[in-house]
């Protein structure tokens, strides 16, 4: 049984990390990061089988690929809190000589990151490649990928979606962060994509809907359900409804905080809504 008290406290702390990181350098993407905080906590603390020594060879453990790399703040916070690198290093986010680049990369050797992402639409293909590699290695672990919904406007995703079905890539669980927002506004206004779940179904994926994508219990349950669907000849996708900016009242229900940092006063308001629980970096 998950320790929800701890996980909720961790969520407060991760949100604080995100807010403080982007505030310090007055840049970065808090909206989508906050919206996916609970997903990252569920995935890294309750679902993924990870090796204890944080080695990066990719064998015999679950792997995660972040395709929408701009939500790096939540990724970095989780990796640090999980122990991949020192929590203190979060203070170097987006600063010169840092391993915590604006968008995640392997280039500076940050543990936990397995591919560079940021230019959108590439992560699912990479995750498929890693899943194929696992099959060749008779490695029974699972590959996870997270994509943004706006990101699905990139055509490469649909090449990958088609491929995964045709080739029975069934050791892969993709999740779409369906927050309905992108830089220029609502996805419905920028480029309506119709029913994304139905599109995945039409392409032959097992589709699982997650209505409460900011609820830890629901996410954990859904990810566990998704794991039971692996190994059966079909790729699995979770369509996860989230609220961009979740946990900070004035950042919710708007796309305004997609790529904008809070000022000093705004930070104070946001932090007051998210108490320090596990120690700020």
């Amino acid at each position: 049984m998950p320790d929800f008290n701890f996980l909720e406290n961790l969520a407060f702390q991760v949100r604080r990390d995100i807010l403080r990181m982007v505030h310090k350098v007055n840049s970065g993407h808090p909206g989508g990061s906050l919206g996916c905080t609970e997903f990252f906590i569920a995935l890294y603390y309750e679902i993924m089988e990870l090796k204890d020594d944080f080695d990066m060879d990719g064998y015999n453990e679950d792997l995660f690929f972040l395709s929408n790399g701009h939500i790096s703040p939540v990724f970095y916070s989780i990796l640090a809190r999980k122990g991949f690198f020192p929590v203190e290093e979060l203070r170097t986010f987006r600063s010169i000589d840092s391993r915590l680049q604006g968008h995640p990369t392997t280039h500076e050797g940050l543990p936990g990151v397995r591919i560079a992402s940021g230019s959108l639409g590439q992560g699912l293909s990479v995750a498929i490649g890693a899943a194929l590699s696992k099959k060749l290695n008779n490695d029974i672990n699972t590959v996870f990928a997270l994509m943004g919904d706006g990101e699905l406007q990139e055509g490469q995703n649909w090449e990958a979606i088609m491929y995964a079905t045709a080739n029975k890539v069934d050791n892969l669980i993709a999740t779409v962060d369906l927050n309905g927002k992108q830089i220029d506004g609502a996805t419905e206004d920028v480029l309506p994509m119709g029913n994304i779940a139905e599109k995945f179904k039409a392409f032959g994926w097992v589709v699982i809907l997650l209505k409460k994508g900011n609820d830890l219990k629901s996410i954990i349950k859904t990810l566990k359900l998704a794991l039971t669907k692996t190994g059966k000849g079909q790729p699995v996708v979770i369509i996860m409804h989230t609220e961009m900016g979740n946990g900070v009242d004035y950042m919710m229900h708007t796309h305004a905080w997609h790529g904008k940092a809070p000022n000093d006063e705004q930070l104070e308001v946001a932090l007051a809504q998210n108490p320090e629980t596990l120690g700020d970096y």
Binding site: G58, T105, T106, I115, V126, I128, G129, A130, S133, Q156
Partner: protein, 317 residues
């Protein structure tokens, strides 16, 4: 001067296919991917012998590059196969982010490079690919000259850790190197020594350079012919020592003069030993349909162009 014998006309892409087949037998980590061009890339033997290690991606090159990047995680050595145009320009950002910047051990194997693809015309020819690839930090760029060398290069890059762009072609050309020469990435090969002019050639133009050197020799001009099969990293030491001796250079390649071997050479000699240089390359133009030999003649990519350029370079000393 040393005479080279054409052991028979054969395409360099068949050298790639033969190398890949051998790797299939010797290196269990080698996997191959193709975007609906198995026949053109000569990958069928590898597929027959290693069906589980081959991935038919379909006409989806972007996805192919991403999958190749992912396959490296877990120790695979992916060789991607499609035309040079679709191996580079079409997927530049995928190569840049998921392979080069991510430091993935992917071998991008590109056939039908240059203008000698011929009749399909400019949509399928590419004369910019060397430039595109050499601009990427950490990318190794190789353009072997004949069947034997392409086979050797294919085998050699499997043992090198890091992204590689391997460029070869469609037409049947002279096979003149021997099959016992180990391929050393980044090491130019002096095919003929000379004192009046250096001919620095890559790919299909190496054979043309050898023929040009023979004709020049007949009129009393001593040309040093170097095969720069690796454009990046360029063998600067060999290049500089040669131009110090000859005092002028002609670069020869089936590529635009912007971005190609000649440009890399110009940079090296400008920094280290300023020397007159002439460029045998396309002059910032697209190609067109035609028979390969006709195109090489029309675009000035053959023995005659090299001879004329050598005389011009010598006159500028």
């Amino acid at each position: 001067m040393k005479k080279y014998k054409d052991q028979g006309k054969i395409d360099t892409r068949s050298g790639f296919g033969a190398g890949l087949t051998e790797l299939g037998r010797t290196n269990p980590n080698v996997v191959a991917l193709c975007a609906d061009l198995v026949g053109s890339l000569k990958m069928q033997d590898f597929i027959n012998e290693n069906p589980d290690r081959f991935f038919q991606i379909g006409i989806a090159e972007a996805n192919m590059m991403g999958i190749a990047a992912g396959l490296t995680i877990g120790g695979k050595i992916p060789f991607t196969g499609t035309f040079a145009n679709f191996s580079t320009g079409r997927v530049y950002d995928q190569i840049r982010q998921s392979i080069a910047y991510s430091g993935k051990n992917v071998k991008i194997c590109a056939s039908h490079a240059g203008i000698t693809l011929g009749e399909d015309g400019a949509t399928h020819q590419i004369l910019e690919d060397i430039g595109l690839m050499k601009m990427l930090p950490g990318m190794t760029v190789i353009n072997p000259c004949d069947f034997n060398q392409t086979k050797a290069a294919t085998i050699a890059i499997a043992d090198y850790q890091g992204p590689v762009y391997l460029r070869f072609g469609r037409p049947k050309v002279a096979n003149f190197t021997t099959d016992d020469i180990p391929f050393e990435i980044g090491k130019g090969i002096v095919l003929n020594t000379g004192k009046d002019v250096t001919i620095a050639a890559t790919g299909h133009l190496v054979w043309e350079a050898l023929k040009a050197a023979e004709d020049l020799n007949a009129v009393g001009i001593s040309a040093e012919v170097i095969n720069f099969h690796t454009i990046k990293p360029l063998d600067s030491e060999l290049l500089i020592s040669s131009v110090q001796k000859t005092g002028c250079i002609v670069s020869a390649e089936e590529h635009n003069y912007l971005g190609g071997l000649g440009e890399s050479i110009a940079g090296e000699i400008a920094r280290n030993h300023p020397t007159p240089q002439e460029f045998v390359a396309t002059k910032d133009t697209f190609g067109e349909s035609g028979a390969p030999a006709q195109l090489m003649e029309k675009y000035g990519l053959n023995k005659n162009s090299i001879i004329a350029s050598c005389k011009k370079a010598i006159s500028r000393k």
